[in-house]
């Protein structure tokens, strides 16, 4: 008998992609086609996990199973993509459950938000939102085990205590294992939330300890771990798809005669393109289905396709940049205005202005998109590496015309996600191809070229900053114009402005003590699919703002760190809604104000650990940047060396993070290490460019990411000790990335005197 605590539950269809919900009031809202809802009135607003579609669950009968042999299985409803969430969720439950970690397993939930609550794994939200519900789950299950043991022994429950996988009757010293009472415990009602007793933090065994091995560590080091690309089913066939090279394009004509001659090729079928805006639906194209992946790839290379490129065939990065720059040099939609920045700037004797350019990026997770779908007796089953399994289920149901309750989405491990796998277009492709093969299981594999050319790209932006300087060299006025095509263009008919959640990523919620601030968002028209990329709009905003502050400090002849701290100003808690950010990462502004003391704290910590102010040999420089994102505070001090040929190395990086209470410190460190390295790639190497509507890069030769030899020689992560565990948690997966680029750029300036205003750095230092 296994899983006695797991009771079956009806699977119902309640689902919405939550990306645009909980945005609250802001400068702009999407008018049409938003897959989600925006609270109509302030008093309806819900925050945090409660504000996400389908909210939170904390029922141990959903998440905890205990077998007769005592094995505890925790169901993880959040998707694993390298952040360690399967380990962290399990250890939270195990701690409150008083389970022995050696006897804890983890199972992955299917996509079913009616049952599990919100499963959309993005926005650095998993532990932030599920820490307390998972604690309650574990604690409630512990109470049920104690009650069952007390009933079996006929003693008051107050005389029994669960500890390390056993329940003890304290007066008699009798003990019984969890497995022996699990079945009886499962029959008991779950205690009311108010009656659940959480452990005191002093008794935590795993939470905050950082001594837990990865629950998938063995599988990941022995080749046993199962990713989306690894699914194997009886009679499965393999597909690759030739997609329109220009967003919005379609097939004009095609000839598959040669493709069909390739041994192993079974069939060539077309996929209908989705009109712009294409949301999470496939781009369309010509699919080759074969007996193995290699035959499918060979067959695809023999297709003769003429494309009708459609409205975006003129998209070229060179001219688009000029368009963005022109927009940034004229007034645009005002998204924050305090004081009279225009007036002060117009009269200023001393001004500084700078423009920064940040290109498109592709997520390029090491596992490209891949999914397998079969349709049996009108029921669809998918195996896929998706961040948003309910969105996947809904899109499959909608496109295949199958009731959502007849669609099952099994979530594999994700070989990286970084936002790309929030969009299930590739799973829908597999669904359509299975349908074309009479329901046979079809695995769709994206090649790296497919992934680089058909990503949902990180936006491209021009950030223009102007400051009027007072006698002391401090800004009396600050004007920031941010111009970038919006993720909203995936959903709405031609929106031209950043959405509240994009503006709230470090643009409008600027926590500086400046009397006159004006922030504008001029129009930009998207000409490709724009999507989430780890840290999203924080990347361009942080790069521009934190570079500009260093430029201002230099112009004033001041130490950058001192100048930055003064600009942030006195310790205070800023209500984000008071400075134009009604989104605040979906969190309650009362629980999550912007705490300038914490921001200054990470700056002090990173600079102290890096030895800020020490003298460095010629060609070396220290650079600093700090950024608040995903309700977490991060500062980075980077040391760079630039040799006489302009070759850059990074001897050392110090990263300080204050994310509130820490659940799994080892995974916080690993996320900071990974953010640093992804940030190095973003800064030095990464760029997607378009010409004639087509992506110019194909693979890791044209689209470069950081390799081990570009990685900092030393990365030191400094965790600000967390407050008590009742305090709100911050995000971890994304906030490490935004300060990396400006810290490196500022270090390059310190080392060489060259100011980097355009990413990536690439050849800019060559001499």
């Amino acid at each position: 008998m296994t899983n006695p605590l797991n009771l079956s539950s009806t699977i119902t269809n309640i689902s919405r992609r939550g990306v645009l919900t909980g945005l609250g009031a802001g400068a702009f809202v999407l008018a049409v086609g938003v897959p989600g809802s925006i609270p109509a009135k302030a008093q309806d607003a819900k925050y945090g996990g409660d504000g996400m579609p389908n909210g939170l669950r904390d029922d141990p009968k959903i998440f905890v199973a205990i077998a007769d042999d005592g094995t505890v299985t925790v169901t993880c409803s959040r998707q694993e993509m390298g952040q360690g969430v399967r380990t962290s969720i399990a250890l939270i439950v195990a701690d409150e459950l008083e389970a022995d970690w050696a006897r804890v397993k983890v199972a992955q939930a299917q996509g079913d938000e009616a049952r599990f609550g919100n499963q959309d794994t993005d926005g650095s939200r998993s532990i932030r939102h599920f820490f307390m519900p998972m604690r309650r789950c574990g604690a409630a299950a512990r109470a049920m085990l104690e009650e069952a043991a007390a009933q079996q022994w006929g003693v008051p429950v107050t005389e029994v205590e669960a500890s390390n996988h056993e329940i003890e009757h304290k007066p008699s010293g009798r003990r019984i294992g969890y497995g022996a009472v699990a079945k009886a415990a499962a029959e008991l009602p779950v205690p009311e939330r108010d009656a659940i007793e959480l452990k005191d933090a002093s008794r935590f065994r795993y939470i905050g300890k950082g001594e837990i091995g990865l629950i998938d560590g063995f599988d990941m080091t022995t080749g046993r771990a199962q990713y989306g690309i690894d699914t194997r089913l009886p009679d499965m066939v393999y597909a690759v798809v030739a997609r329109p090279p220009v967003y919005g394009g379609k097939i004009a004509s095609y000839d598959d005669a040669e493709a069909l001659k390739v041994p192993g090729v079974l069939k060539v079928v077309t996929i209908e393109p989705t009109p712009i805006p294409s949301e999470f639906q496939p781009l369309g194209g010509v699919a080759v289905i074969a007996r193995n992946t290699w035959a499918a790839i060979q067959g695809r290379s023999k297709l003769e396709i003429t494309w009708d490129d459609g409205p975006n065939k003129a998209y070229s990065s060179d001219t688009y940049r000029e368009t963005l720059e022109a927009a940034a040099r004229k007034p645009g939609a005002v998204v924050r205005n305090s004081g009279d920045a225009d007036g002060v700037l117009a009269k200023a004797e001393k001004r500084l202005e700078a423009e920064y350019y940040i290109p498109h990026l592709a997520q390029a997770s090491m596992e490209p998109p891949a999914a397998t779908v079969r349709i049996v007796d009108g029921k669809c089953e998918a195996w896929a590496c998706v961040q948003a399994p309910q969105a996947t289920r809904d899109r499959l149901a909608g496109r295949l015309g199958i009731p959502v309750e007849d669609v099952t989405v099994n979530v594999t491990l994700l070989g990286g996600g970084f936002g790309r796998k929030s969009k299930p277009d590739f799973v829908v492709e597999a669904g359509l191809l299975s349908k074309a093969m009479d329901g046979a299981p079809v695995k769709v594999t994206w090649t790296r070229e497919d992934d680089v050319q058909h990503a949902y790209f990180h936006t491209v932006s021009v950030e223009r900053l102007e400051a009027a300087l007072d006698a002391g060299g401090k800004p009396a006025a600050w004007l920031h114009r941010s111009v970038a095509p919006t993720i909203g263009s995936l959903f709405g008919p031609d929106p031209k402005h950043e959405l509240p959640f994009e503006l709230g990523m470090g643009l409008v919620n600027l926590p500086f003590s400046i009397p006159n601030i004006r922030i504008e968002n001029p129009e930009a028209v998207a000409m490709t699919r724009i999507g989430w990329y780890r840290s999203v709009s924080n990347i361009p905003h942080a790069f521009a703002i934190q570079s500009f502050v260093a430029e201002l400090a230099h112009a004033a002849g001041r130490d950058h760190k001192d100048y930055l701290l003064e600009l942030i100003g006195p310790d205070r808690k800023i209500d984000p809604t008071a400075i134009g950010d009604g989104w605040n990462y979906g969190e309650d502004p009362k629980l999550y104000p912007i705490d300038t003391g914490r921001l200054k704290g990470v700056i002090e910590l990173a600079t102290q650990e890096a030895g800020w102010g020490r003298s460095l040999p010629k060609g070396r420089g220290l650079g600093l940047a700090a950024h608040y994102s995903f309700v977490t505070y991060v500062a980075v001090a980077a040391e760079v060396e630039v040799d006489e040929h302009g070759l850059l190395t990074i001897p050392r990086m110090d990263i300080a993070i204050d994310c509130g209470p820490q659940v799994n410190p080892d995974r916080i460190r690993s996320q900071m290490e990974g953010a640093a390295i992804m940030g190095v790639g973003n800064t030095l190497l990464g760029e997607i460019t378009f010409k004639d509507g087509r992506v110019e890069q194909n693979n890791f030769d044209g689209y470069e990411v950081a390799r081990i030899d570009a990685s900092p020689k030393e990365i030191h992560v400094h965790l600000v000790p967390g407050p008590d565990y009742a305090q709100p948690l911050g995000g971890v997966g994304e906030p490490g990335v935004p300060p990396i680029a400006p810290a490196i750029a500022n270090a390059i300036f310190a080392a060489t005197g060259k100011r980097i205003r355009q990413l990536p750095v690439k050849e800019q230092l060559s001499v």
Partner: protein, 155 residues
């Protein structure tokens, strides 16, 4: 007809011998530990050993390996207890884990040739293996830990 030994077992294949080992191992033999990352020998996710030497499975065909011995991550150590695998787990190297088969296979080849590698040796040997999660600092540390654990013994 190609004949090769895969993880010690003799295999015969009479299909298209121009198929890269990557797809043969994954699709035909079900050895899914060898990963597809780029198909162009740019990322190292498909690294395997052919007669003891690290090779990219996406660029090595079945014909190339005819008569030779192929080792994948599944065959590196019987119980997954190669010193590198142990070090990888002790230091919690993986994040998403996808590239780690290739990383470990490449590192095993490095330690075979250079039992006590320096940072430069490691960077040089491992720079063909991309990790998008950024586990490089721990990869360096784990290789050194495994090297120390084996004290230069031949692996």
């Amino acid at each position: 007809m190609a004949i090769l030994r895969v993880n010690g077992e003799e295999r015969q294949y009479d299909g298209d011998s121009s198929m890269p080992l990557l797809w043969y191992l994954r699709d035909e033999l079900g050895l899914i530990g060898t990963k597809f990352g780029c198909g162009q020998a740019l990322c190292g996710a498909c690294t395997i050993h052919v007669d003891g030497t690290a090779m990219r499975g996406c660029q090595t065909t079945i014909a190339d390996a005819d008569g030779l011995s192929v080792t994948t991550i599944e065959g590196l150590a019987a119980d997954g207890d190669h010193p590198l695998q142990i070090a990888w787990r002790e230091l919690n190297v993986p994040q998403c884990g996808y590239c780690q088969s290739g990383q470990i296979m490449q590192a095993a080849s490095l330690l075979k040739d250079t039992p006590q590698p320096t940072d430069e040796d490691i960077d040089s040997a491992m720079s063909g293996n991309i990790c998008r999660c950024g586990t490089y600092p721990r990869i360096r540390a784990a290789i050194k830990q495994a090297a120390a654990a084996t004290q230069g013994a031949k692996l």
